[in-house]
Symmetry: C2
Subunit: 193 residues, 2 copies
């Protein structure tokens, strides 16, 4: 199943308090990944070149503060962030986050989230994906195609789901709840449609 | 070679005059397709749900008025336009175009431009593409993949070029001037990377 991630931020407890003046990050709705939720809180992203309002804070709070945007957003903000997996912020871009009660000027923190698949160890085994770091994925529909090198994130605390950003989803005209297919080596070698 | 099309409009001479109060559509720069150019004129797109400013008018004027946007733009405007080739406006969406001297309320005219390849008949022959309507295209890079069913537009008045919209380009992290590869049937059957 596909889950499309719009631009969003993850905050540490300290940064959340600085932006919102409170400790209570409230649940708007749970998402399919266990224990993760869309909160009722929004921030504004700002750079010298641009500004994006109404950006969702995801919960719960994390050990790091991270802003995940699409390449389309990056053009709007005049940034060139690296494609990263969550938490890999060494090369990430500077950005300012505005909340109702405070502002964060981050030297690092903004990334393009790399597309990835969440799955359980037993699912990796079942589907012959044990030991693989990445796979190719087939998207069907009027603007179908194949995404190369989609990372696998195998953990005991996950729901089997392909996470794409809005650029990936809009380019291929897929949406949350649609299905994609992981291509096996055999399928790749014979026929890929 | 890849050419990325940002959102833009084509206007009839009559509609241009209505929006700008003049007959003279001026060349800002030529694009690679023969006789086509980016003009110095901009319009604003508007619907009940949203508004996008600074949208380029392409020249020269055409026999039809047409607004080409990405799926990302469509969400911003609250529209659900069909994926069309240029000029196929039967099912296209209503939209309002604002110019400095006038306004056009179109009942039809807004589309998602389908990705396509411009090429000469002799190039189609050279590359074994004669008689084909569409091909699959390989995009390389950090977010590489394959685009299925890319239409061929074979004409004597064309430059060999793959036209993508900003969603396609941003999802796969390619830009104007990058190169893509048309996959032959043989390549598809053996190995596609």
């Amino acid at each position: 199943m596909i889950g499309v991630s719009n631009r969003h931020v993850h905050l540490t407890e300290m940064d959340f308090k600085k932006l919102f003046g409170t400790d209570s990050l409230e649940v708007l709705r749970e998402i399919r990944q266990p224990e993760q939720f869309a909160s009722t809180s929004y921030v504004t992203l700002e750079t010298e070149k641009g500004r994006i309002e109404h950006v969702r804070v995801m919960g719960p709070c994390r050990e790091y503060t991270q802003v995940e945007i699409s390449k389309t957003d990056a053009y709007q903000l005049g940034l060139n962030p690296p494609i990263c997996m969550s938490g890999q912020l060494e090369e990430s871009s500077p950005i300012t986050i505005l909340g109702p009660k405070g502002t964060l000027h981050l030297q690092k923190g903004c990334i393009l989230a790399d597309r990835h698949i969440h799955l359980l160890p037993k699912q990796a085994e079942l589907y012959g994906l044990t030991g693989l770091e990445k796979v190719d994925v087939l998207l069907s529909g009027p603007k179908g195609g194949i995404l190369f090198d989609v990372k696998l994130r195998i953990s005991e605390n996950s729901y089997f789901e392909l996470h794409l950003d809005t650029d990936d989803a809009n380019a291929h005209m897929v949406k949350s709840g649609d299905f994609a297919r992981i291509l096996t080596k055999k399928e790749k070698e014979s026929e890929y449609k």
